[in-house]
Amino acid sequence: MMKKALSCLLLLLMLATLPGVLTSCALVEPVKKLYVYNWGEYMTLESGEDEVHLNHEFEAWYEETYGERIEVVYSVFSSNEEMYAKLRNGSSKIDLIIPSEYMIERLIKEEMLMPLDFSIITAYEETIDPRFQEMATKPYCVPYTYGYLGLIYDGALDESLRDENGDMSWRVLWNEIPDGTDLTDKILTFNNSRDAFGIAQFILNYETALKNDEKPGTQDLYVNTSDTSRWDKAYLLLEAQKDSLQAYVMDEIYNKMESGAALLAPYYAGDYFTMVDVNENLSFAYPKEGTNFFYDAMCVPKSAKNPIEAQRYINFILGGEDGETLDAIIANAEWVGYSWPNMKVTMNLDYLADMADDEDGYGAEALSILYPESDHEALLAMVEEYAAWREEAGEDYDPTDYPGQQPTIDMFTDVNEDFVTYIYENLDNDTLVYANGRWEALKLTSAPCTEIYVLSGVIVLLLIAWAVLYALTRRYRSRYY
């Protein structure tokens, strides 16, 4: 009886709430959703005080600008390939992706990207570094960040690693240290084919140019070549490197460099700051042979359901039509720590001063590492002056009051002509197969492990001996029973 009464009561309660549920459903208009797919740790999404949540900023900006509500659904990937697989199988809704340059080329080739409408991305012309505006991928993507590959090493080795001109060579990764120091077993290299081959190819390209009395970097004979004999040359170089190496690594590099287990490794400039935070003995340099230049850019896949909104998002990331969202974007740039193609960010003295700050930023070397192609010495002088002024002006300073010099675009573009960079292009299929085959051959040959072979041989022999003995004793015994 009790039970019945109780269930009746419950039923009544449910019925009573039903109309409320129905009406509330009807009242809430469906909010448009924008699906953004980005690298992990690649955007500031902190919701504490003094922190910026970029997607919340976007939602507020969007409502204010377009009078419509929107919600960003943000998810992350950890490799270009992962992103590609998810996009390829088409089951998930994605409106905006931020992959790397070679993947963008591939996506363009496979016709998976939508040409962008630059009448929506109004900020593009004024904000994006002119170097990027000339790129072939321009109609399909807007760069988000960029960076370079460099050498990370133990600061104590600085003098040993530099040659008589004070330059560093990628050759040090082959244990060819100018002053003869032996770093065998202290050197790391990439455990992925493109980056590992790239380093050998920078060396070959440089040395070939010197042999032909050309200016290094004017011609790319090796990095994006489809000539298999050149890949063979790079392969031989990598094979010669094997005995000096401690390990082929990817993300283990953090552990090994931070703890000092390895002393020399190639890695991306932006990530060096993460390592130096833990191990302050580390230093960074760009080798003379030139280096890889990479960028990650925002693209809209053809399958996007909200392409217009996605392009408005891109415009937001560029600072909005009149730079109204610039503060949030600068906060994001400082948080992420890579190099930015957005000139309004890089020419902002507050940003530069924050980056070069010893305590909250990455110190004075930050500018020369993040923007090696710029006139970073002049920039640093300017920034130091500004930082001093800012200190004096106190908490409530107004940057527009600053009487000193402001950076110009010229300081960032084409100043350092000796700095050679190569972009990895998407290799054609045959070359890719060949290069992968060479990498296979390199990886398949193992370091010597004779003791393991001998031991396993002994074990197998013992096993066989035991089996024979067992069979014999069994037969012997069976005579008696």
Binding site: N191, N192, Q246, A247, S259, L444, S446, A447, S456
Partner: protein, 287 residues
Amino acid sequence: MVIQKEKMNKKRSFLRTAAAYPHMVWSALFIVAPLIFVLYYALTTEDANGNFQFSWSNITALAGENYLPVFFRSICFAIVATAICLLLAYPLAYFLSKCKVSSQRMLIMLVMLPMWMNLLIRTYSWMNILETNGLINNLLTTLGLPNAKLLGNGAAVVLGMVYNFLPYMIMPIYTVMSKIDPRYLEAAADLGCNGRQTMLRVVFPLSVSGIISGITMVFVPSVSTFYISQKMGNGRFEMIGDTIERQFMSNYDYHMGATLSLVLMVLIIICLAVMNRFGEEDGGVLV
């Protein structure tokens, strides 16, 4: 009455088979279908237009591309790791089965405890312990002893395998041993066996089935492991698992990856068939 009972039986047997359906569907979907895919990919290649064509070229490529030494290396490492696991696990399992029931539970939990953590984390921790300036070398330095290179050699890879797969060896042997009727041992003693003879003639033959399943459970993951060798061996000892991973993750050559996996599966089946020949003679339970 009788009819009713028959009906009931019929109903029950229907229910019984119905209970197996989910498992059958599961097996078909997640075991049989993927195997068919592996076979399909292994026996096809992709032409320039992305069409699949039947060919043996993947399998013939195996001999050409120096893959055989990799298979050989993987099997050697796995054999060594399995043998060490057996040597460590057998006495431990025996000791466990002889403990009080309450402490058995405790000790078994200690054996299982590391498995509650992810294999990747466990391996990464070992890297930190063995690193040139890791835990052990720091200790050696403070004691004034010279540092040793502990990471990046064959022994480190074997250590990683043994550490990660040891519980798989202990558990089946322990299970079998704890089920041995103590009266057998008493009988053996009564009939004049000394400790060594009891061990060799009674306990060991009765535990063979456990040993065989233990060996299987250690050997198979060891031979196909891909993470441990990369991290503990500093990426210098390529195992077949690493090769297969690379086909899928960076070379995008699913066909070669499938072929390598197929060959690996066949090799494992052969190894197990040989193992099971030993087991059958003793009437052991096969895995």
